[in-house]
Amino acid sequence: MSGEELTEFIPKQVDQLKAEAEHLGISEVFCQGLAVFVRFRLSLTDKTYVMRCLYYENSMHPIAAVCFVNPATLADEGGTNWPDDRSGALKRTNNPPFVCIPGVYEYHYQYHTGAPVLRQHLDLVNVVSDIIGLVSK
């Protein structure tokens, strides 16, 4: 998807995510260029996390790479700001860390390159709720 197409695609995803934010425990969703930031509080630990979903120009499908950033500065600090995960999907000790589930860039383009890309994998609400579900386990 070209940069121009992404600038149309991303705001739609952001609007859908904002519409569902309250039901997902998300307090803030905002966009910076090709990155979507999602701030949420994890009830399990009573901690706040910020997920960054970064889209890449010219990738075959509009699928974001996901990482957790410093909630105050939004800086990517490796695995430091990642929540604990009992599912094994959050590879926080990898360099760089990544989330390994369908709908995330690294899953489809690096670790499971033959895996089919389904409609729900392009739906940011679905991917973000999958990740919140995993870290709430």
Partner: protein
């Protein structure tokens, strides 16, 4: 009397059939328990339900899965997400503090790479 009844029952969505498990139907305090209107979303769909607040989340999940046409033998792979937390299936709506008109996401566990 009518006022009291309205206080303990949701007056919205009366056209939606009330789901009550056998345990809830036999519960001595059944009539005192509120009926909640609950919205459930999946990736593709959104349905409305009516359920008594002392219903177990796990029993309701099976009912919801049937309504969505999902294979209930896969139920252990599904969970409810509500306001950023997974609901405990061994608890009731009341215990999990699910309010009237709450929206739950019915999610299945993603394939972990």
């Amino acid at each position: 009397m009518n006022e009291q009844k309205e206080n303990i029952q949701s007056i919205e969505g009366p056209e939606i059939e009330l789901f009550e498990s056998e345990e809830v139907q036999k519960h001595p305090d059944r009539e005192k328990k509120r009926v909640l209107l609950i919205y459930v979303k999946t990736v593709d769909d959104r349905l409305s339900f009516r359920v008594r607040e002392n219903e177990l989340i796990g029993k309701f999940k099976i009912h919801a899965m049937r309504r969505f046409g999902l294979d209930v033998s896969q139920a252990p792979q599904y969970f409810f997400l509500y306001q950023g937390r997974r609901l405990d299936e061994s608890k009731t709506f009341e215990h999990e503090q699910i309010s009237n008109k709450a929206e739950l996401f019915l999610k299945n566990e993603p394939a972990v790479g």
